[in-house]
Protein backbone atom coordinates (compact mmCIF):
# COMPACT_ATOMS: atom_id res chain seq x y z
CA UNK A 1 0.00 0.00 0.00
CA UNK A 2 2.73 2.35 1.05
CA UNK A 3 4.71 1.52 -2.08
CA UNK A 4 1.65 2.18 -4.24
CA UNK A 5 1.10 5.59 -2.60
CA UNK A 6 4.77 6.49 -2.95
CA UNK A 7 4.72 5.59 -6.64
CA UNK A 8 1.59 7.68 -7.16
CA UNK A 9 3.17 10.67 -5.37
CA UNK A 10 6.32 10.45 -7.47
CA UNK A 11 4.27 10.15 -10.63
CA UNK A 12 2.09 13.12 -9.66
CA UNK A 13 5.26 15.20 -9.21
CA UNK A 14 6.44 14.45 -12.73
CA UNK A 15 3.11 14.59 -14.55
CA UNK A 16 2.73 18.39 -14.65
CA UNK A 17 6.34 18.75 -15.77
CA UNK A 18 5.79 16.44 -18.64
CA UNK A 19 2.58 18.28 -19.65
CA UNK A 20 4.19 21.79 -19.53
CA UNK A 21 7.17 21.14 -21.79
CA UNK A 22 8.06 24.42 -23.56
CA UNK A 23 9.70 25.54 -26.72
CA UNK A 24 11.08 28.94 -27.75
CA UNK A 25 9.70 30.99 -30.57
CA UNK A 26 12.00 33.62 -32.03
CA UNK A 27 10.13 36.49 -33.73
CA UNK A 28 11.85 37.73 -36.89
CA UNK A 29 9.36 40.35 -37.87
CA UNK A 30 9.66 43.17 -40.38
CA UNK A 31 9.69 45.89 -39.01
CA UNK A 32 12.47 44.74 -36.73
CA UNK A 33 11.36 46.95 -33.85
CA UNK A 34 8.22 48.29 -32.30
CA UNK A 35 5.96 45.35 -33.09
CA UNK A 36 3.48 43.77 -30.70
CA UNK A 37 1.61 40.52 -30.74
CA UNK A 38 -1.21 38.74 -28.94
CA UNK A 39 -0.79 35.07 -28.24
CA UNK A 40 -3.83 32.85 -28.29
CA UNK A 41 -6.21 35.87 -28.25
CA UNK A 42 -5.20 36.63 -24.64
CA UNK A 43 -1.67 37.73 -23.88
CA UNK A 44 -0.30 40.91 -25.39
CA UNK A 45 3.48 40.98 -25.62
CA UNK A 46 6.28 43.04 -27.06
CA UNK A 47 9.46 40.95 -27.16
CA UNK A 48 11.62 39.15 -29.65
CA UNK A 49 11.56 35.73 -28.04
CA UNK A 50 8.75 33.96 -26.25
CA UNK A 51 8.65 30.61 -24.43
CA UNK A 52 5.45 28.72 -25.03
CA UNK A 53 4.10 25.33 -24.24
CA UNK A 54 4.37 22.81 -26.98
CA UNK A 55 1.54 22.89 -29.43
CA UNK A 56 -0.33 25.10 -31.85
CA UNK A 57 -0.58 28.77 -30.89
CA UNK A 58 -2.41 31.63 -32.50
CA UNK A 59 -0.63 34.93 -33.04
CA UNK A 60 -1.99 38.35 -33.97
CA UNK A 61 0.99 40.49 -34.87
CA UNK A 62 0.90 44.23 -35.45
CA UNK A 63 3.25 47.18 -35.77
CA UNK A 64 2.53 50.89 -36.26
CA UNK A 65 1.53 51.72 -39.84
CA UNK A 66 1.18 47.96 -40.60
CA UNK A 67 -1.83 45.65 -40.78
CA UNK A 68 -2.57 42.98 -38.18
CA UNK A 69 -1.47 39.59 -39.40
CA UNK A 70 -3.08 36.51 -37.87
CA UNK A 71 -1.15 33.26 -38.01
CA UNK A 72 -0.72 29.98 -36.14
CA UNK A 73 2.58 28.45 -35.15
CA UNK A 74 3.30 25.00 -33.82
CA UNK A 75 5.84 25.28 -30.99
CA UNK A 76 8.04 22.22 -30.55
CA UNK A 77 9.30 21.43 -27.08
CA UNK A 78 12.95 22.11 -26.31
CA UNK A 79 13.53 23.71 -29.67
CA UNK A 80 13.82 27.24 -30.94
CA UNK A 81 11.58 27.99 -33.83
CA UNK A 82 11.89 31.09 -36.03
CA UNK A 83 8.81 32.97 -37.11
CA UNK A 84 9.81 34.95 -40.18
CA UNK A 85 7.16 37.44 -41.22
CA UNK A 86 6.84 40.73 -43.01
CA UNK A 87 3.92 42.90 -41.93
CA UNK A 88 2.49 44.73 -44.93
CA UNK A 89 1.69 48.43 -44.70
CA UNK A 90 -1.94 49.15 -44.02
CA UNK A 91 -4.15 50.55 -46.77
CA UNK A 92 -4.78 53.58 -44.53
CA UNK A 93 -1.07 54.21 -44.24
CA UNK A 94 -0.53 53.86 -47.98
CA UNK A 95 -3.37 56.31 -48.59
CA UNK A 96 -1.88 58.64 -45.96
CA UNK A 97 1.55 58.44 -47.62
CA UNK A 98 -0.05 59.22 -50.96
CA UNK A 99 -1.97 62.20 -49.54
CA UNK A 100 1.15 63.41 -47.71
CA UNK A 101 3.24 63.17 -50.88
CA UNK A 102 0.56 65.08 -52.82
CA UNK A 103 0.36 67.68 -50.06
CA UNK A 104 4.15 68.13 -49.94
CA UNK A 105 4.49 68.27 -53.73
CA UNK A 106 1.67 70.80 -54.05
CA UNK A 107 3.06 72.93 -51.20
CA UNK A 108 6.57 72.76 -52.63
CA UNK A 109 5.38 73.84 -56.07
CA UNK A 110 3.18 76.63 -54.76
CA UNK A 111 6.12 77.95 -52.75
CA UNK A 112 8.79 77.37 -55.39
CA UNK A 113 7.11 79.00 -58.40
CA UNK A 114 6.96 82.55 -56.94
CA UNK A 115 10.51 82.19 -55.59
CA UNK A 116 11.71 81.19 -59.06
CA UNK A 117 9.74 84.12 -60.51
CA UNK A 118 11.34 86.48 -57.99
CA UNK A 119 14.80 85.07 -58.73
CA UNK A 120 14.09 85.48 -62.44
CA UNK A 121 13.04 89.08 -61.79
CA UNK A 122 16.27 89.71 -59.88
CA UNK A 123 18.36 88.24 -62.70
CA UNK A 124 16.37 90.28 -65.22
CA UNK A 125 16.93 93.43 -63.12
CA UNK A 126 20.62 92.65 -62.80
CA UNK A 127 21.03 92.23 -66.55
CA UNK A 128 19.06 95.45 -67.11
CA UNK A 129 21.26 97.33 -64.64
CA UNK A 130 24.30 96.07 -66.54
CA UNK A 131 22.83 97.20 -69.85
CA UNK A 132 21.83 100.54 -68.35
CA UNK A 133 25.33 101.09 -67.01
CA UNK A 134 26.80 100.20 -70.41
CA UNK A 135 24.49 102.63 -72.23
CA UNK A 136 25.21 105.37 -69.66
CA UNK A 137 28.94 104.83 -70.04
CA UNK A 138 28.59 105.08 -73.82
CA UNK A 139 26.64 108.33 -73.47
CA UNK A 140 29.20 109.74 -71.04
CA UNK A 141 31.88 108.95 -73.61
CA UNK A 142 29.77 110.58 -76.34
CA UNK A 143 29.42 113.71 -74.18
CA UNK A 144 33.18 113.80 -73.58
CA UNK A 145 33.80 113.26 -77.31
CA UNK A 146 31.52 116.16 -78.08
CA UNK A 147 33.50 118.41 -75.80
CA UNK A 148 36.94 117.49 -77.15
CA UNK A 149 36.28 116.73 -80.80
CA UNK A 150 36.98 119.49 -83.33
CA UNK A 151 35.83 117.70 -86.48
CA UNK A 152 32.37 119.02 -87.49
CA UNK A 153 31.67 115.85 -89.47
CA UNK A 154 32.34 113.68 -86.42
CA UNK A 155 30.24 115.99 -84.24
CA UNK A 156 27.40 115.75 -86.78
CA UNK A 157 27.59 111.96 -86.75
CA UNK A 158 27.71 112.01 -82.96
CA UNK A 159 24.58 114.13 -82.71
CA UNK A 160 22.81 112.65 -85.70
CA UNK A 161 23.17 108.93 -85.08
CA UNK A 162 25.55 107.87 -82.30
CA UNK A 163 23.96 109.69 -79.37
CA UNK A 164 20.34 108.95 -80.48
CA UNK A 165 21.28 105.26 -80.72
CA UNK A 166 22.84 105.29 -77.26
CA UNK A 167 19.84 107.25 -75.91
CA UNK A 168 17.60 104.53 -77.34
CA UNK A 169 19.77 101.85 -75.70
CA UNK A 170 19.48 103.71 -72.38
CA UNK A 171 15.71 104.00 -72.73
CA UNK A 172 15.42 100.32 -73.60
CA UNK A 173 17.57 99.34 -70.60
CA UNK A 174 15.52 101.62 -68.33
CA UNK A 175 12.25 100.11 -69.53
CA UNK A 176 13.71 96.66 -69.03
CA UNK A 177 14.91 97.63 -65.54
CA UNK A 178 11.47 98.90 -64.56
CA UNK A 179 9.97 95.66 -65.87
CA UNK A 180 12.52 93.58 -63.96
CA UNK A 181 11.95 95.49 -60.72
CA UNK A 182 8.18 95.22 -61.11
CA UNK A 183 8.47 91.49 -61.78
CA UNK A 184 10.72 91.09 -58.73
CA UNK A 185 8.28 93.05 -56.56
CA UNK A 186 5.34 90.97 -57.79
CA UNK A 187 7.37 87.79 -57.20
CA UNK A 188 8.26 88.92 -53.68
CA UNK A 189 4.64 89.78 -52.93
CA UNK A 190 3.44 86.48 -54.32
CA UNK A 191 6.10 84.62 -52.32
CA UNK A 192 5.01 86.31 -49.10
CA UNK A 193 1.33 85.74 -49.78
CA UNK A 194 1.70 82.10 -50.84
CA UNK A 195 3.98 81.26 -47.91
CA UNK A 196 1.36 82.64 -45.56
CA UNK A 197 -1.41 80.85 -47.44
CA UNK A 198 0.33 77.47 -47.54
CA UNK A 199 1.32 77.68 -43.87
CA UNK A 200 -2.42 77.53 -43.09
CA UNK A 201 -3.00 74.42 -45.18
CA UNK A 202 -3.96 71.33 -43.17
CA UNK A 203 -1.35 68.62 -43.31
CA UNK A 204 -2.86 65.12 -43.78
CA UNK A 205 -3.01 63.15 -40.54
CA UNK A 206 -2.57 59.42 -40.19
CA UNK A 207 -5.34 57.70 -38.29
CA UNK A 208 -3.99 54.24 -37.45
CA UNK A 209 -7.24 52.26 -37.31
CA UNK A 210 -5.30 49.01 -37.20
CA UNK A 211 -3.84 50.09 -33.84
CA UNK A 212 -7.29 50.75 -32.44
CA UNK A 213 -8.39 47.33 -33.66
CA UNK A 214 -5.28 45.68 -32.24
CA UNK A 215 -5.68 47.40 -28.86
CA UNK A 216 -9.21 46.12 -28.71
CA UNK A 217 -8.14 42.52 -29.27
CA UNK A 218 -6.64 41.96 -25.80
CA UNK A 219 -7.96 42.64 -22.34
CA UNK A 220 -5.21 42.87 -19.77
CA UNK A 221 -6.28 42.52 -16.14
CA UNK A 222 -4.78 45.01 -13.70
CA UNK A 223 -4.49 45.28 -9.93
CA UNK A 224 -8.10 46.44 -9.58
CA UNK A 225 -9.37 43.72 -11.80
CA UNK A 226 -8.59 45.11 -15.23
CA UNK A 227 -8.20 48.11 -17.48
CA UNK A 228 -9.75 49.17 -20.72
CA UNK A 229 -7.32 49.98 -23.52
CA UNK A 230 -8.04 52.49 -26.21
CA UNK A 231 -5.87 54.09 -28.85
CA UNK A 232 -5.68 57.82 -29.42
CA UNK A 233 -3.39 59.54 -31.92
CA UNK A 234 -2.43 63.14 -31.22
CA UNK A 235 -0.50 64.92 -33.98
CA UNK A 236 2.13 66.97 -32.21
CA UNK A 237 4.33 67.90 -35.15
CA UNK A 238 3.75 71.25 -36.83
CA UNK A 239 2.49 71.24 -40.41
Amino acid sequence: MFRSLASLFIASCFLPVCAQETGTLRMLIDPGHDFSFIVDHKHRMQQREVKLSEGLHHFSIWAPERVIVDTTVFVIADRTTDLLLRLPFSADHLEYRKQLANYQTKKRWVRTVPIVAMAGGLVWSGISIGQYGKAKKALDKDRADYEINVDPGTLSTLKGSTIPAHNADLKKARTSLIGGLAFTAIGAGATYYLFRLTSKWDRPLFDDREKVRFDGMAWIPGAQGGILMAGLTIELSRP
Binding site: Y146, V150, P152, K159, P164, N167, I178, L181
Partner: protein
Protein backbone atom coordinates in the same frame (compact mmCIF):
# COMPACT_ATOMS: atom_id res chain seq x y z
CA UNK B 1 6.23 102.88 -43.05
CA UNK B 2 9.47 101.09 -43.99
CA UNK B 3 7.92 99.64 -47.15
CA UNK B 4 6.65 103.12 -48.14
CA UNK B 5 10.16 104.53 -47.81
CA UNK B 6 11.56 101.70 -49.92
CA UNK B 7 8.86 102.29 -52.54
CA UNK B 8 9.69 106.01 -52.67
CA UNK B 9 13.41 105.24 -52.96
CA UNK B 10 12.71 102.84 -55.85
CA UNK B 11 10.59 105.51 -57.59
CA UNK B 12 13.33 108.11 -57.05
CA UNK B 13 15.95 105.72 -58.47
CA UNK B 14 13.85 105.02 -61.55
CA UNK B 15 13.08 108.72 -62.09
CA UNK B 16 16.74 109.55 -61.44
CA UNK B 17 17.68 107.41 -64.42
CA UNK B 18 16.14 110.00 -66.75
CA UNK B 19 18.89 112.54 -66.17
CA UNK B 20 21.37 110.24 -67.84
CA UNK B 21 19.78 110.80 -71.25
CA UNK B 22 21.64 113.23 -73.48
CA UNK B 23 19.41 116.04 -74.72
CA UNK B 24 20.67 116.59 -78.26
CA UNK B 25 18.89 119.94 -78.59
CA UNK B 26 20.90 121.34 -75.71
CA UNK B 27 24.15 119.90 -77.05
CA UNK B 28 25.45 123.05 -78.72
CA UNK B 29 28.31 124.22 -76.57
CA UNK B 30 31.10 123.25 -78.96
CA UNK B 31 32.13 125.97 -81.41
CA UNK B 32 33.14 123.22 -83.85
CA UNK B 33 29.56 121.91 -83.92
CA UNK B 34 27.88 122.63 -87.28
CA UNK B 35 24.80 123.65 -85.19
CA UNK B 36 26.78 126.27 -83.27
CA UNK B 37 24.80 129.50 -82.93
CA UNK B 38 27.31 131.74 -81.18
CA UNK B 39 30.00 134.10 -82.42
CA UNK B 40 32.13 133.03 -85.39
CA UNK B 41 35.78 132.02 -85.19
CA UNK B 42 36.41 134.66 -87.88
CA UNK B 43 35.98 138.40 -87.75
CA UNK B 44 36.65 140.91 -90.54
CA UNK B 45 39.06 143.54 -89.30
CA UNK B 46 39.05 145.60 -92.50
CA UNK B 47 38.53 145.55 -96.28
CA UNK B 48 40.82 147.82 -98.18
CA UNK B 49 41.49 148.52 -101.87
CA UNK B 50 45.15 149.13 -102.64
CA UNK B 51 46.94 149.87 -105.94
CA UNK B 52 49.72 147.63 -107.25
CA UNK B 53 51.82 147.32 -110.42
CA UNK B 54 52.74 150.98 -110.21
CA UNK B 55 49.14 151.97 -109.70
CA UNK B 56 47.85 150.39 -112.92
CA UNK B 57 45.86 147.70 -111.09
CA UNK B 58 44.01 147.48 -107.82
CA UNK B 59 43.38 144.71 -105.40
CA UNK B 60 41.08 144.23 -102.45
CA UNK B 61 42.57 143.03 -99.16
CA UNK B 62 40.29 141.47 -96.54
CA UNK B 63 41.98 141.34 -93.18
CA UNK B 64 40.40 138.36 -91.40
CA UNK B 65 40.99 137.87 -87.70
CA UNK B 66 40.97 134.26 -86.46
CA UNK B 67 40.26 133.24 -82.86
CA UNK B 68 43.04 131.50 -80.99
CA UNK B 69 40.81 128.42 -80.45
CA UNK B 70 40.64 127.94 -84.21
CA UNK B 71 44.32 128.63 -84.81
CA UNK B 72 45.23 125.87 -82.37
CA UNK B 73 43.33 123.30 -84.45
CA UNK B 74 45.78 123.70 -87.34
CA UNK B 75 43.97 121.46 -89.86
CA UNK B 76 41.39 124.06 -90.95
CA UNK B 77 41.11 125.75 -94.33
CA UNK B 78 39.35 128.93 -95.33
CA UNK B 79 37.42 128.79 -98.58
CA UNK B 80 36.67 132.13 -100.20
CA UNK B 81 34.22 132.42 -103.08
CA UNK B 82 34.18 135.70 -104.97
CA UNK B 83 30.97 135.99 -107.00
CA UNK B 84 31.87 138.62 -109.61
CA UNK B 85 34.42 136.55 -111.51
CA UNK B 86 33.52 134.01 -109.96
CA UNK B 87 36.58 132.65 -108.30
CA UNK B 88 37.25 130.26 -105.44
CA UNK B 89 40.41 130.38 -103.39
CA UNK B 90 41.46 128.10 -100.56
CA UNK B 91 43.60 129.53 -97.79
CA UNK B 92 45.40 126.98 -95.63
CA UNK B 93 45.91 127.26 -91.89
CA UNK B 94 48.20 130.03 -90.76
CA UNK B 95 50.84 130.06 -88.09
CA UNK B 96 48.99 129.82 -84.76
CA UNK B 97 50.99 132.77 -83.49
CA UNK B 98 49.64 134.97 -86.31
CA UNK B 99 46.02 135.98 -85.64
CA UNK B 100 45.23 137.51 -89.04
CA UNK B 101 44.95 136.09 -92.51
CA UNK B 102 44.83 138.44 -95.50
CA UNK B 103 42.54 137.49 -98.37
CA UNK B 104 43.49 139.08 -101.65
CA UNK B 105 41.40 139.77 -104.74
CA UNK B 106 43.73 140.93 -107.50
CA UNK B 107 41.13 141.84 -110.10
CA UNK B 108 38.98 144.68 -108.93
CA UNK B 109 37.67 147.68 -110.75
CA UNK B 110 37.29 150.84 -108.80
CA UNK B 111 33.69 151.68 -108.10
CA UNK B 112 32.52 148.08 -108.40
CA UNK B 113 31.09 146.17 -105.45
CA UNK B 114 32.55 142.78 -104.67
CA UNK B 115 30.89 140.15 -102.50
CA UNK B 116 32.52 137.18 -100.88
CA UNK B 117 31.50 134.00 -99.12
CA UNK B 118 34.07 133.00 -96.53
CA UNK B 119 33.62 129.45 -95.26
CA UNK B 120 35.55 127.60 -92.65
CA UNK B 121 36.23 123.91 -93.20
CA UNK B 122 37.73 121.62 -90.59
CA UNK B 123 38.41 117.96 -91.21
CA UNK B 124 35.47 116.47 -93.08
CA UNK B 125 32.89 119.19 -92.45
CA UNK B 126 32.10 122.83 -93.10
CA UNK B 127 31.28 124.98 -90.10
CA UNK B 128 28.11 126.64 -91.43
CA UNK B 129 27.50 129.15 -88.69
CA UNK B 130 31.00 130.58 -88.97
CA UNK B 131 30.37 131.72 -92.53
CA UNK B 132 30.90 135.39 -93.34
CA UNK B 133 29.45 137.15 -96.38
CA UNK B 134 30.99 140.61 -96.65
CA UNK B 135 30.50 142.99 -99.58
CA UNK B 136 32.63 146.05 -100.29
CA UNK B 137 32.96 148.65 -103.07
CA UNK B 138 36.47 148.94 -104.46
CA UNK B 139 37.54 152.47 -103.67
CA UNK B 140 40.75 154.08 -102.68
Amino acid sequence: MKSNVLFLLACAAILGCRKHDVDIASLNTSRFDPDWVGPSFMRIDSIRTVPYASGALHRQQIHLHLDEELRNVQDYVIRVIEYTVPDTTIYPAVDPAQPTVVILNYLVQLGEEYCYDIDLRIGSGILLNHRLSPCAVAEL
